[in-house]
Subunit: 428 residues, 2 copies
């Protein structure tokens, strides 16, 4: 008999069916035992009254994998309104060693480090798996949004001969006897591929040898990168980002609705046009001195409150960051060259996405590197391509784990990462 | 005026429109000049008769990025049956330095190493970009097939504390002062995630420090990994693989139809049931000695011919490879324990996919490692998880570049990889 999932049971009332999954919990009452079986779709309550089956259930442990054949009976008090009765239970493996924390409790009682040490079992907890379902749906939405706008997916090297974002925080490795580095971003490659496809995206790992142990930093994270050509300026990029975020959140609602309910999430609305303020205005709104070169976290929080009060928006673009604080490939504002055509998107008062227009002329790259006192040589393979004709272009990068952490309200990005990597953690 | 793509021109006959792209070619005849503009969607022929515009076009170089405003006129001999007349031409950047090879010729005349040295421009050639469009469509199909079958996408660590597949061919790196390795596959992680989601997939880079310089090996490639639980044996995995390949090829036809036409491809049919032969039968069919432990390339070619002649199929499963030739996590055939529940899928007589059923009991892992004289300790974080209840499961991995190379008929995987990495190549 073909196994069915717990979510399919309501369509089989009165029938004998086979389910399979993990023993989530056993409740051994005097006259009856309840076996709660967890599968990918949810929980099934199995009612055990037969003495022999009860004896078998008593001998099994939580997390043992079992197959259960039984009759589907409607019961309004059971999960999804149905339960299985008259079961036969067949273990699909030896009795499991119970995990070091109870997976059947509504919240995982173990500390985060303990959860991370035992990630393969901690991730089975419905709250942890729900966050990863939100993550998978967000990525599917990112791709769907960009596919619909004629972007092409690319895959670029994760090992490079010179660092992409800056000389700091790179992991060095031995590449057949030569020095090499893990890529800190696909920045250069996605720009080069604008020359091929005009519009590209990549979903992939990036690596930062972050010496800081914070709730926001991972040494490997998943970057959702997009880049598009033939833009007038950064505002064309912001419009694509706005639409992408709307589709991402819409896809989370559609594809991870169960997870959204389980976590009790209130998904944010993306306004048709996200309000935008220039960096100089942002300083004024935040009450910061006019000569501040960047926004501090307190400023971002103040801006988040302002956007909600003034525009009813949880999102706020800050444009025109000072050139001095942006990477060398950033395009300046032609009207005010000390400021950039770069932007950040704040979500609930915290930076969520960085993006902007990039330089597209070879001579501008040479000048930008010279102005920073950086040699051209490490960037030659990248910069040279701009001699061969590149359109005005720009793009953005969304850190998947930060995005998901903010959507689900996790205090630490490690709560929404299956197997995080950081300063201290290289296993499991 | 909003720019439109070359593919949209036929809907605008008689109108004045704006297009933009790269100067693909200029043909300067006596009474008329033709400017061929390439954009993401194809080519546009621009007819120049005005002397001033002609002078401007003469001064421009191939690959310069331009914007052209002109009138759309039907012309059966032009690309897509339309051309632009009475144009004004505005460069969107300085004149381009022409690439070291002609992008407008039907085939790229440069050697593959020259193409790879100049990848950012070589990839603009329609044959090279078409192969990458096939690749993007194949990946989209992989995901669509598995999404429809309730698989969940995962993202796993690419830096690990011990090697996954074997001690050889790993890249070592310095992880905050500790030794670490680039992951050779997501094998262990996808198995662990079966314990969470039952069915998972991952699209991501894997790293092999291949000391061999061949047309089939890359040091970084994109692996399409899937793993599913609650299988009876490897045949359930083969059925999912069959359906996945069919959707991948269907999606290539749907989403990369232009590329398929441009490359003149004849996409293979995936039979409703792919024929399968046991390893021992395969040896007989290939005329190999009965004690051969593996199939040589010549055997695979013979099997490919046999499958086509006998079953009219370009695909053939070979099952039951000897355990001695498969990784330690492979599940043996319960009826013949010297043979495995592992399979290879041959496509046109070459191995395309490897997969199989895995061990799912903790004790079996201990025994398998002991039998190979391998210590448990490096695998502890992986093997320990099997104490906590894992269902029978299996999966497969498709090497994206090999798959695409075979579909497009490329002799070298580097022809279908944007920026390949190998023994000799770390740039661009």
């Amino acid at each position: 008999m073909q196994r069915i999932l717990s979510s399919q049971l309501p369509a089989h009332v009165g029938e004998t069916v086979t389910i399979a999954g993990w023993i989530h919990r056993r409740r051994l009452l005097k006259s009856v035992a309840f076996l709660i079986v967890r599968d990918a779709a949810g929980l099934t309550q199995v009612v055990v009254t037969d003495a022999a089956v009860r004896g078998q259930v008593e001998a099994l442990t939580e997390e043992t994998v079992v197959e259960v054949v039984g009759t589907v009976v409607a019961n309004a008090t059971a999960p999804a309104g149905v339960e299985l009765t008259g079961p036969t239970v067949r273990p699909l493996g030896p009795p499991a060693v119970p995990p070091p924390f109870d997976l059947y409790r509504p919240a995982l009682a173990a500390t985060l480090p303990t959860q991370l040490d035992h990630a393969p079992v901690a991730l089975r907890h419905p709250t942890r798996s729900a966050a990863l379902r939100v993550s998978a749906a967000a990525v599917a939405g990112f791709r769907a949004a960009l596919d619909a706008r004629d972007f092409t997916e690319i895959h670029t090297p994760k090992v490079v001969a010179s660092s992409t974002e800056s000389g700091a925080n790179v992991f060095a490795l031995d590449w057949f006897g030569r020095p090499a580095y893990l890529a800190q971003s696909p920045q250069f490659y996605k720009q080069l591929m604008v020359g091929v496809f005009e519009r590209v995206y990549e979903v992939g790992p990036v690596f930062r040898a972050e010496p800081h142990d914070t709730v926001r930093h991972l040494a490997q994270y998943t970057s959702l990168d997009a880049e598009l050509g033939f833009v007038a300026d950064h505002r064309d990029v912001m419009a694509v980002l706005r639409d992408t975020l709307a589709v991402m959140l819409g896809t989370v609602a559609d594809r991870a609705g169960g997870a959204v309910s389980a976590l009790g999430l209130d998904l944010p609305e993306v306004p048709a046009e996200i309000p935008a303020v220039h960096f100089t205005e942002a300083l004024t709104i935040a009450g910061a001195p006019a000569d501040e070169p960047d926004l501090a976290p307190a400023h971002e929080r103040a801006l988040g409150e302002w956007a909600r009060a003034e525009h009813g928006s949880e999102f706020l673009f800050v444009t025109g960051y000072p050139m001095a604080k942006r990477p060398f490939y950033t395009h300046p504002d032609p009207a005010r060259p000390a400021y950039s055509n770069g932007f950040d998107l704040l979500f609930r008062g915290v930076e969520l996405v960085t993006g902007g227009q990039r330089l597209h002329r070879y001579d501008d790259y040479l000048a930008a590197l010279a102005a920073r006192g950086e040699p051209v040589e490490p960037y030659a393979g990248y910069v040279d391509a701009f001699r061969h004709g590149m359109p005005p272009h720009g793009g953005f990068a969304i850190g998947l784990e930060r995005f998901v952490a903010r959507v689900v309200g996790a205090a630490n990005v490690r709560e929404v990462t299956a197997f995080p990597r950081d300063l201290h953690r290289l296993t499991p």
